[in-house]
């Protein structure tokens, strides 16, 4: 177990390092200049050089890379013009755009994304798996057909389309709600939930559809297993057979999928955030790319990679707990 965790940790670090190198390399592989984006209209070479110097972009690429990563681990001093700022670890640098510490920007975006994703995650697992299990147990009946149809609509609908429908109906059409905006849960939990209802609904509908189909298929497969026949043969009531024996086995692959999805989504849900005007990690990363804001791009990519790597490792550990046949080694 301990060996497994150490091994996973090393692999995770290696993955993050690779993402670090690749993102950095990609950014400079693109023939574009961050300085030119920031430079005002009457731009000339002298100004460009000044901006480049201020951003530290005039140093050799390798030096920049080493400095960035040194900051990440140890913190670093950033010379900005004639000022020197101490940027403590994990230092992600300063935004090219606003000169704000990137850690601060991320600290602003992260709660938004986490709020949207965690809330939606709970809802989509509950409704998706619930619907799937219900369908499987009522296979071929009316309820099953209705659920499959709903799931099909959800699965074939892009999130931006459904999100716009939600906005169109509830905010602009019926006027039942205000345009969503984010209130931190620590400030007012009720307002927090109210502001997040629409993004939650949008993500839930689209995601739950996939989960319903997947868990229905898993459940049907499990119900045809020999051990389910055994459970019936020893005289267990249907409830126990379905909800204990069948669900227990059917849910295991769903857990894997859920863990991996959660990791991906926590890295930012750019479309949902943008449509509902929520300034989370996803929204920040899109903007940073447009602005060629290297430190923010690096930060959002690393955070996204971090979530994916962590969720992968967690899923592996979790799987060993759920399925006794799996050994961690």
């Amino acid at each position: 177990m301990l060996r497994f965790i150490i091994k996973r940790l090393l692999v995770a670090l290696l993955t993050l390092a690779a993402v670090d190198v690749i993102t950095f390399g990609l950014f400079f592989a693109v023939p574009s200049s961050p300085a030119a984006v920031m430079c005002s209209k009457d731009c000339n070479q002298e100004k460009l050089d000044r901006v480049n110097h201020a951003l530290g972009l005039d140093k050799p690429k390798l030096t920049q890379f080493v400095e960035f990563n040194k900051g990440l681990v140890l913190g670093r001093d950033i010379v900005y013009g004639d000022k020197t700022d101490r940027c403590p670890a994990p230092c992600l640098g300063y935004s090219f755009r606003t000169s704000e510490a990137v850690t601060k920007i991320m600290a602003r975006g992260l709660p938004v994304t986490v709020s949207i994703v965690l809330g939606a995650f709970v809802l989509w697992i509950f409704f998706g798996v619930g619907l799937g299990v219900y369908s499987a147990l009522h296979r071929g009946q009316f309820g099953d057909k209705v659920s499959i149809s709903i799931a099909l609509i959800g699965a074939s609908m892009p999130v931006y389309f459904f999100a716009l429908i939600l906005l169109g109906v509830f905010v602009f059409g019926l006027g039942l709600m205000d345009y969503p905006h984010f209130v931190p849960i620590s400030v007012n939990p009720l307002q927090w939930a109210k502001g997040l209802i629409l993004p939650w609904l949008a993500l839930t509908f689209v995601q739950a559809a996939g989960y319903a189909r997947y868990s229905r298929a898993q459940m049907l497969e499990t119900l045809s297993e020999d051990y389910i026949r055994t459970a019936r043969a020893i005289g267990l009531p249907n409830r126990t057979v379905h909800l204990k024996h069948a669900l227990r086995a059917a849910i295991t692959p769903v857990i894997t999928l859920a863990g991996l999805d959660l990791g991906v989504f926590l890295g930012g849900v750019a479309i949902t955030e943008t449509i509902f005007g929520m300034h989370g990690i996803g929204w920040q990363s899109v903007n940073a790319v447009f602005d060629l804001n290297l430190p923010v791009v690096m930060a959002t990519v690393l955070i996204a990679a971090f979530f994916v790597v962590v969720s992968n490792a967690l899923v592996d550990v979790l799987y060993a707990f759920v399925d006794p046949r799996v050994r961690l080694s």
Partner: protein, 351 residues
């Protein structure tokens, strides 16, 4: 015969059982008019190829078919109570308590995520709702020990995948017998095991039968298994009974061409090792379009047709000279005896 050796009524009596499944392609006549009975302490072997209706018969006795898609007529009397038409809840109480079942592949038949002990405890608790956890555990360990699993205390806390094939089947048997069932249905319990383990399991079943005085239905396609364990044999073909008799009658004086085919197709230890095996030609029939007349006629080397009744009329299951031996075949009895003596008895294990 059963009725002569045991004074009591047979524990299980099946009368004219018919099971049909409605499918998209048509109605599957899985079991078509089957009758038999088993007394406590006796073993009935049901033999036949895949799709002969032997497993469907046993699952019907257990009440394990989806009532929505299955049409069941006839009578299944378990201890005098008719399972056909019984409320689901009442059949459930019978299952695992009065009638228990063990299956072919013990790896897939045990839940992979639950410990062996927990599964046996579950089987006990469901029929003893008042029992304490400790009692159930004690009983489960006792059963594991009884079926010959070494270190039952330790094994109690292991998962099915930590057991070997033979041990798993023993655990399965322990689970089936935990409630002292009066009837045990074993659906090909040795097919997935290697031959030495097969013999151990059959011995175990024999011992347990003596101890618990239960009736056993042994479903198999393996006549070797039948000859070791059965008192009586039912040979099924296409959902009907081809031949029914004591194990001596079926093994020594079989009278149905299908039984001959089964016996001939088994290689003998004493025969010519270079001789080709003699299979039954053709394939088992579709149960949606069962051949007219005798369902076996398209594959029967002795069929009587044009003129002959074999493809026209379904043969009745009729008694032959010996008591308790019944055969459904149009060929006259004397001729069957001659064919068997002259042509069949030298081939394969038919000796």
């Amino acid at each position: 015969m059963t009725t002569q050796t045991s004074s009591a009524e047979p524990y299980l009596k099946v009368n004219d059982l018919r099971v049909r499944f409605k499918t998209e392609d048509g109605v599957v006549k899985a079991v078509d008019g089957v009758s038999f009975s088993v007394s406590r302490g006796r073993t009935l072997g049901i033999v036949g190829e895949s799709g002969s209706g032997k497993s469907v018969t046993s699952l019907t006795v257990m009440g394990l078919h989806n009532p929505g898609r299955t049409e069941i007529t006839g009578e299944i009397l378990v201890g005098g109570r008719n399972v056909v038409g019984m409320l689901d809840e009442d059949v459930r109480k019978l299952r695992g308590n009065d009638v228990a079942m063990i299956f072919q592949d013990p790896l897939s038949a045990l839940h992979p995520f639950y410990k062996i002990g927990k599964q046996i405890v579950g089987a006990y608790m469901v029929h003893h709702p008042g029992a304490s956890k400790a009692t159930a555990k004690k009983r489960a360990i006792e059963m594991l020990d009884r079926v010959g699993i070494p270190e039952p205390m330790r094994r109690f806390d292991q998962f099915p995948h930590e057991f070997s094939g033979g041990m798993r089947q023993r655990a399965m048997i322990a689970m089936a017998l935990v409630n002292d069932p009066k009837l045990l249905i074993a659906d090909e319990p040795t097919t997935a095991l290697d031959v030495t383990v097969q013999a151990q399991i059959l011995d175990l079943l024999n011992d347990l039968q003596k101890e618990f005085n239960s009736a056993i239905i042994m479903i198999t396609h393996d006549l070797g298994v039948i000859s070791q364990i059965a008192d009586e044999v039912l040979v099924m073909y296409a959902g009907r009974v081809a031949e029914h008799g004591s194990v001596e009658q079926i093994m020594r004086e079989p009278q149905h061409p299908y039984t001959w085919g089964l016996l001939e197709s088994i290689p003998s230890l004493h025969g010519d090792p270079t001789a080709d095996l003699k299979p039954i030609r053709g394939n088992p029939p579709s149960l949606i379009n069962v051949p007219s007349g005798c369902a076996f006629h398209p594959r029967c080397p002795y069929r009587m047709m044009n003129p002959g009744p074999c493809d026209v009329e379904v043969p009745q299951l009729l008694r032959v000279r010996e008591a308790g031996h019944q055969v459904s075949c149009h060929i006259p009895e004397e001729r069957r005896r001659t064919i068997y003596r002259d042509e069949v008895s030298e081939v394969g294990v038919a000796q």
